[in-house]
């Protein structure tokens, strides 16, 4: 059964990819959807057995790599953490598959799309079922590949290709750190199997690694390197630039990969490796600081964006920051809980946005929307539900998970935690503001699109609306139902050994006893953000323009995403392009080609021409060559013998 969960998507991907032409668009879509739905149902069964009934599974598949000291088997590790991820990945993936039947119905290469989508799911499942670092890395790279393929799915658009390459390259930076972390693990522990590493990790506390003469703390180095990998995949501050651009891909892709699953791989990885991170305070603090910075940064940028998908993308970035703060303060379960709930409401928001875009014939600019409440009522309501859940309206999903993180950050005792708490609260206010801004600009007020478009505004087909409704239920109830298990009284029975917390780590306990003002603060922030958005976009519509004029530099700063892309362009892209061009034109073209292939082939032709000239056709020339040849050989031996003869004296 567990193998079926992982391999059904792969089989679907192979069939749709190889026989897509023969199956046709419908055939490929229905086939992959069926496989995904079966896989999703099995995941829920697995979740029940493992999470709620207390099984713990190791399903070996085969010996994988045996090379020298490196012995790695391929086996599925199904504990509670994996089961949670299985449920998230397969549920969202199957809903996205179904939604795509409608959304992609006008596309010419649907089999390819569904093959990629299923391939992605397989890679993600490989990632979450990993039993050792190599498997994790395999899945990690697999999702990276699928993400690249899907962002660049519309390869005829230059912007999509550029975005795909950007995502790939930025992820490479993170993966470099991740790979070094794996090497370091192997060097230190002599194994990359999770169980063995976790067992011997406590012995390594306080030891050092010698690197170029520096004595570096072992656990700090390993965890920091691994964390760089997590930063890349989860689009944390400084490595976040690829995520907004990734919105060039089809919207279902954004929902699945760039909101619900792949970008949370970093969070999963840190949680999976909690036995290591728990022993390394510096990486934990780093994680917390980076997370808080990302949460605040992305929220501020989200305020000033006009593209509906980019707003949600920055929101995702910001929420990932929340998760990292939770991990950083040691509340791993809170981070995973937020991952779990976020998957539902963020996928919902993306798919809802997709529905809006679909209704307006690929219009993504918020400034050209407005007044869509009547035209697409179902989409409107599910977007409202998604927004409520995101902003943390009481008893929706985000209310439980996000507030828990804020409380945990308050309960942690450190300078950084203090700063993180303030950042998260501010981010909560901004989240509420930009989310409602999106809703108001899209659904309320006067329509700002042209009349031609207005005439064709239509609700999406049922095949798109059903996944939206399913996700709405999840967005409303996931928090309430999940809370007792994830972070409440069922904690120990639910997580058991899959998350590790040190004996002195009581963060959840302390968070539950936060003062009342801390508990209420996020809700107040949510309400404040809502009110401000209402004021600016419904009550006094002139206010945004006025604010923009007044705070022009600030707006420009936010609108241009803190100029980080420009900074990178100046810092990395241009110098590298210059270097690459120089190496290409001078290094490769002039030196290597000139002295290498081109030069050699030119010389070959020269030699050939000379040799051919020797062949004159005259017999006496030929005889002459023969005699010259024999004279040369004879002279050579005469020389050798005479030299020997004279050296005898």
């Amino acid at each position: 059964m567990y193998s079926a969960i992982v391999f059904l998507p792969l089989i679907g991907a192979i069939i749709a990819g190889v026989f897509g032409r023969w199956l046709g668009a419908k055939g490929a879509a229905y086939l992959t959807c069926t496989f995904m739905v079966v896989s999703a149902i099995l995941s829920w069964v697995a979740f029940y057995r493992v999470g709620l009934s207390g099984d713990e599974i190791r399903a070996p598949i085969m010996d994988w790599v045996n090379s020298g000291d490196l012995r790695t088997s391929w086996s599925l590790r199904i504990d509670t953490l994996t089961a949670v991820m299985l449920v998230v990945v397969n549920t969202v993936s199957s809903l996205v598959h179904i939604y795509s039947i409608g959304y992609m119905s006008h596309d010419n290469s649907q089999p390819r799309f569904f093959a990629y989508l299923s391939l992605f799911t397989f890679a993600m499942l490989m990632l979450v079922t990993a039993d050792n670092l190599l498997q994790l890395f395999f899945g990690w790279e697999g999702v990276g590949l699928a993400s690249y393929l899907l962002i660049g799915f519309w390869y005829h658009k230059p912007s999509a290709n550029a975005a795909a390459i950007k995502a790939f390259v930025v992820n490479r930076v993170g993966d470099f750190g991740f790979a070094l972390g794996i090497f370091a693990c192997f060097a230190v522990f002599g194994t990359i199997s999770f169980d063995e590493i976790f067992a011997s990790a406590p012995d390594q506390v306080g030891t050092t690694i010698d690197f170029l003469g520096y004595q570096l703390d072992t656990m700090t180095v390993i965890c920091l390197l691994l964390f760089i990998g997590a930063m890349g995949k989860s689009a944390q501050f400084l490595l976040h630039t690829w995520l907004p651009d990734a919105m060039e891909g089809p919207t279902p892709v954004s929902a699945l990969i760039h909101a619900a699953t792949m970008v949370t791989a970093g969070v999963f990885m840190v949680a999976r490796l909690s036995p290591l991170f728990e022993l390394a305070p510096i990486p934990m603090t780093t994680c917390e600081a980076i997370g808080a910075l990302t949460a605040l940064f992305a929220a501020t940028v989200g305020v000033a964006q006009n593209d509906i998908k980019r707003v949600i993308a920055y929101s995702t970035c910001s929420q990932l920051g929340y998760m990292f703060v939770a991990l950083g303060v040691g509340a791993y379960s809170a981070g995973i809980f937020h991952l779990f709930t976020h998957a539902f409401f963020k996928a919902l928001l993306f798919l809802g946005a997709g529905s809006v875009i679909h209704a307006l014939h690929d219009e993504q600019d918020l400034r050209k929307m407005g007044g869509l409440r009547k035209g697409i009522p179902v989409t409107f309501w599910v977007m409202i539900i998604g927004t409520l859940a995101l902003t943390g309206f009481p008893y929706t999903a985000g209310f439980f998970s996000k507030d828990m993180i804020i409380e945990a950050s308050h309960a942690a005792h450190s300078e950084v935690a203090h700063y993180a708490f303030i950042a998260l609260v501010a981010a909560a206010f901004l989240t509420s503001f930009y989310s409602w801004r999106l809703i108001f600009m899209t659904f309320f007020g006067a329509p700002r699109h042209d009349e031609e478009t207005a005439k064709h505004v239509h609700e999406s087909p049922l095949v798109m609306l059903v996944p939206l409704c399913v996700l709405s239920v999840g967005a409303l109830l996931a928090g309430y139902l999940g809370k007792p298990y994830f972070i409440g009284e069922g904690y120990d029975d639910f997580w058991r050994s899959s998350l590790f917390t040190a004996p002195e780590n009581h963060i959840l306990e302390e968070a539950h006893h936060s003062p009342a003002w801390v508990v209420w603060l996020p809700t107040v922030m949510m309400a404040g953000g809502f009110l401000l958005a209402f004021l600016a976009y419904i009550a006094v519509p002139t206010l945004p323009q006025a604010a923009m004029r007044t705070f022009k530099p600030i707006h420009a700063f936010l609108y241009n995403k803190w100029y980080i892309d420009e900074l990178y362009d100046w810092l990395f892209v241009r110098p590298f392009k210059w270097l690459a061009r120089t190496l290409w034109k001078t290094g490769d073209g002039r030196i290597i080609d000139g002295l290498g292939p081109d030069g050699i082939s030119a010389r070959v032709v020269d030699i050939t021409n000379r040799v051919v000239k020797l062949q004159t056709g005259f017999v006496y020339h030929y005889a002459f060559v023969m005699l010259i040849g024999i004279a040369l050989i004879v002279s050579y031996f005469a020389y050798i013998y005479w030299a020997q003869f004279w050296s005898g004296f």
């Binding site: 070959v604 050939t608 062949q615 030929y622």
Partner: protein, 479 residues
């Protein structure tokens, strides 16, 4: 010296049979009324097959005759079978060509048989006198064959050039023989080897060896004694060229290997240097000069010069595995060469041959099967695995590396790369250029030879071990 009894002549029965049968065939030809009777050619093929059966039926092991002038051993038998196969396939290729060129004369197969007889004797020659006689028997028949198309200027020119230069090389060979005899007092290979074992080498003897090797290298068309090759290959009738490129090369190698390994093992250091020099020169020239050719027969001439160079790499190693490598190389080489010439014979429009490489343009669209077979053969000649030509090069280079001749193997590999250029250029023409006009359809006999050689080239890698074992046994009889 009393003549041995007839039953004691068993080791030379095949040669005696071939000699008598050729003469009988000559009589049949002379007295049959029909001048251009193809049945003579069929009988000649039957004679070759029968001779082959006689050779294959001989007992294993070495036996001498006529005071050591003739030696029948495993090595000789291996080479003889290759020679016979080459000769028989060349005759099969000749039928239709000779008919359309209106030179289907009974002398042709008789001459082929006589030169084949010379080659067989050459492979068994065990002293300098029998060696020279066998060589001349072979060569005289070949001179006539080269100019067989008497009314064509190119063919006459080819025969004449071959004769004049061949006479020069014979002179060198004889001069070398006389020097060797003068310095050792014997003409038998064992006798020479025994003398060299016990005395210091003298410079005069080495000079003699150099002249003998020059004569042999001429027959092999190894650089710098190769100059006749392109002109003769181009000028001679195509089936004759196919014959030149196959059987005589094997015979000349048999002679070369026997001389250096049986008569001169004591001064191996000296002759290995000569072989290495000739080998390098042949590989380099074969690779570079072929690039400039536009006539496919000239190209094949340079290609054969290069192949001789590669085969010599094995001999340069001077080890049993080196000789084994040479024998494997020759076996594969004659298959590839005859296949290539079958393709060249298939290049016909109306009644005339087409020999320009440019005429192969777009062949894959007009005659995909011919194009595919030629591609296989050319890839094989370039040494691309898993085709037969790869193994040929593999075993000689392996032997060179085992003998620590690393740089020789490196030169071999580099020149292989250069030569791959012109082989691939032909393939590129056939597949990527606009088609030239159609060729005539292949005749059944050409198709047979092409199919046979093509299949061997393609699939030899499966039974390669049989060839390797056979060559190992044969080479073992020399050491």
């Amino acid at each position: 010296m009393p003549l041995p009894a007839f039953q004691d002549l068993a080791p030379i029965y095949p040669e005696i049979f071939l000699a008598l049968a050729s003469m009988a065939l000559l009589m049949i030809g002379v007295f049959s009324r029909d001048e251009d009777n193809p049945s003579v050619s069929w009988i000649a093929i039957a004679i070759l097959v029968a001779t082959g059966a006689l050779i294959a039926g001989q007992d294993a092991g070495a036996r001498e005759l006529f005071d050591g002038a003739f030696l029948a051993d495993d090595f000789g038998r291996f080479m003889k079978l290759l020679i016979l196969a080459g000769a028989a396939l060349a005759i099969i290729l000749s039928f239709d060509y000779l008919k359309t060129a209106k030179i289907l004369k009974f002398e042709f197969p008789v001459l082929v048989l006589l030169s084949t007889l010379g080659m067989l004797l050459l492979a068994s020659a065990n002293n300098l006198i029998s060696l020279y006689l066998a060589l001349e028997l072979q060569s005289l028949a070949l001179y006539v064959l080269a100019s067989f198309r008497r009314d064509a200027v190119l063919s006459s020119e080819a025969g004449l050039k071959y004769f004049v230069l061949g006479a020069l090389s014979s002179g060198m060979l004889l001069y070398g023989c006389s020097l060797i005899y003068g310095y050792t007092g014997t003409v038998g290979f064992e006798g020479i080897a025994a003398v060299l074992e016990n005395t210091d080498r003298s410079v005069g003897l080495v000079f003699g060896l150099v002249f003998v090797l020059a004569g042999v290298a001429f027959k092999l068309s190894a650089v710098p004694f190769h100059m006749w090759t392109p002109d003769v290959y181009q000028g001679a009738p195509t089936p004759v060229t196919a014959f030149f490129a196959s059987a005589p090369k094997v015979a000349a190698f048999a002679m070369l290997i026997r001389i250096v390994q049986e008569a001169f093992p004591a001064i191996a250091e000296d002759w290995r240097q000569i072989i290495i020099a000739i080998s390098v020169a042949s590989m380099v020239l074969g690779a570079f000069a072929a690039i400039g050719q536009t006539n496919i027969k000239r190209l094949m001439a340079y290609s054969s010069i290069g192949h001789v160079g590669y085969a010599m790499v094995g001999l340069a190693a001077g080890t049993p595995s080196g000789v084994q490598g040479v024998m494997i190389y020759l076996a594969i080489y004659i298959v590839m060469t005859l296949g290539a010439f079958a393709c060249i014979l298939a290049m016909r429009r109306g009644d005339s041959d087409v020999e320009e490489i440019a005429e192969l343009n777009g062949l894959s669209r007009n005659q995909p099967m011919l194009a595919f077979m030629l591609t296989v053969l050319l890839f094989s000649m370039a040494g691309i695995p898993p085709l037969a030509g790869f193994f040929a090069k593999f075993y000689v280079f392996l032997a060179a590396i085992e003998a620590e001749l690393f740089w020789l193997a490196v030169i071999g590999v580099v020149t292989s790369v250069v030569s791959a250029f012109y082989y691939l250029a032909i393939i590129a023409r056939m597949y990527f250029q606009e088609p030239a006009a159609d060729f005539e359809p292949m005749t059944a006999k050409v198709r047979f030879v092409l199919g046979l050689t093509g299949i061997i080239t393609l699939f030899l890698f499966i039974p390669i071990q049989f060839l390797v074992t056979a060559a190992e046994t044969a080479a073992g009889s020399l050491f």
